[in-house]
Symmetry: C2
Subunit: 332 residues, 2 copies
């Protein structure tokens, strides 16, 4: 296993310590391993939290800060955080206006966020939840009943964070998150497997000339394994199911998000974005906003995912709103 | 070869087309393949340009925009741009106050920037150059007489860009660039080789349990090949030569930059940053600013580099100044 780590069981703690050291102006890291916005709780502001297994960095801890998340709960690598973490995060960010849980659709995450919500409500904190399930690749999967939550989560956290920052109440913030979920679709692919630090060898075998289309962010099987194709062909294979599903159509305005899986360099992501932009132009769909980079990763997996979000004016405004987190920053 | 590309000879053009499509609010891409700040030339502002082989993205094209570079000249992958590109970029950004060339110390880059400077001067544009040579790993190398220019270039481009944006004249901007060069030291390492699209197989062989310390950004040999070590040990091996070279000493204030080589995920970079921050703290050196991410890469190489810049108040102020480029953005 080739990784820049000290020991498999220390990766998450040491990465969090590194984040805390690098971004002490924005975040604090507290027991039981939660990343909290430095100035939380903010009185009267709806708190927005998310969480999930580690190994997808910068998601979610890198999105904590003004205009995005108030806290994040990182589990062990590819393992749901425990309810204690979500409960502690909920309490840490509650400013009296309630807390929204943004939950990626994985069985463990759903269960543990649910339990944490009950515990927090028993303490008098109002909690709502929205489940993100944007992956069109497969209906059910290894870790999921229904679609998996993937790249759309990044877009939801930014837009919902902007909405909460604007002073909207819990119902409005929750509705905005549901609106993003209803309008976003994603699909990913891998050129290589990821390797879990605790396992030390690739999660799955993929031939030197093979790729996996429709892969999940934990290396879960996708739609098909096939010979490696060109970037244009891969974009076609990812975009067609995405476009047909909503469906997206001529005249729509979208946010196009090309995401790297962790082991893929930026030059390749721009080649992919070029193909995505050309394809959308050919279909009369306007790319009003875009994001290109590695924001929801699968450890060292090489590959990419594409997400399309059908925008309206309000979502666009909250996307553009100021954000100041370790991984996304503008307007400040 | 596993890459998200269409054809080896189209990678650079398509990535540039992707960048132009994604960032049309910030940059334009013009013949002969130069990335130019959208609103260049700006009357009375010193122009700042850089360039080098492609394959190091986001460097340099991703650093074009307000507060950083006015233009970038991307060559073919790992190949110096041609003098035509530097000459065209120099003309495109000259607002009458002259142009600074920030040149990484590689023989081809030096030669071609030199020729371009002569051609531009013959057309009446005042040109100055500063060579960045911050890599302490080796004295000379495959492509270099003297030290290689690596991570310090990112820091120089940001700080010098801030200085130029403030309205400083060409002599002042040049002196600021030289001051960054004089105060920055770097060293890198690799867990895996990179693979050039045109070659299709790894540039060098590295055993499953081996790493290369002191590697160059084109996979040039470093100081030593050895069994893979822990992140803490690797940080010690990179930091000791850096610290001893300037030398950095107790009481110094530094900018600490942990850079990913392209194939390394962020979670590992934060583990490395944690070790860097601990080591500096132990030596009484204050980390006043930091940068963690993949900003000067070597295609899909796994590994990292560390750069330390000894800061003064003016450099700190220009580092903090607003920047709006595809890859770095704050204050706006």
């Amino acid at each position: 296993m080739k990784k820049l780590i000290n020991a498999p069981d220390r990766v998450v703690d040491e990465a969090l310590a590194g984040m805390a050291a690098a971004h002490s102006d924005l975040i604090r890291v507290e027991p039981p391993n939660i990343v909290v916005r430095k100035d939380a709780p903010r009185r009267g502001k709806v708190g927005v939290i998310s969480g999930g297994g580690s190994g997808h960095e910068p998601m979610h801890g890198g999105f904590v800060g003004l205009g995005m998340l108030d806290a994040a709960c990182p589990g062990a690598v590819f393992t749901s955080p425990v309810p204690d973490q979500m409960q502690a995060a909920t309490k840490a960010v509650d400013g009296g206006a309630g807390v929204l849980h943004i939950v990626k659709n994985y069985t463990g995450d759903i269960m543990n966020f649910d339990l944490a919500a009950q515990l927090a409500e028993a303490e008098g904190i109002q909690v709502k939840s929205v489940v993100i399930a944007d992956d069109v690749a497969v209906k059910d999967s290894l870790y999921t009943a229904g679609r998996r939550g993937v790249g759309g989560t990044v877009l939801a956290e930014k837009i919902v964070g902007g909405c909460a920052e604007s002073g909207a109440n819990l119902d409005t913030v929750t509705a905005m998150c549901q609106r993003v979920q209803d309008n976003v679709r994603s699909m990913g692919m891998a050129l290589t497997s990821c390797t879990l630090p605790s396992v030390g060898k690739p999660t799955f075998d993929l031939g030197d000339d093979e790729m996996e289309i429709g892969i999940g962010i934990h290396g879960e099987p996708g739609r098909s394994r096939m010979k490696i194709a060109t970037a244009d062909q891969i974009v076609e294979m990812l975009m067609t199911p995405i476009l047909e599903d909503l469906p997206f159509k001529s005249g729509d305005r979208v946010l196009a998000f090309v995401n790297g899986m962790g082991g893929t360099p930026l030059i390749e992501l721009y080649v992919v974005y070029n193909a995505v932009a050309s394809m959308l132009k050919g279909k009369g769909i306007t790319v009003a906003r875009n994001l290109v980079g590695s924001y929801i990763t699968s450890l060292d997996m090489a590959g990419c995912s594409i997400s399309l979000l059908k925008l309206d004016d309000e979502m666009t405004r909250f996307w553009d709103a100021p954000v100041h987190t370790p991984a996304l920053r503008w307007g400040l």
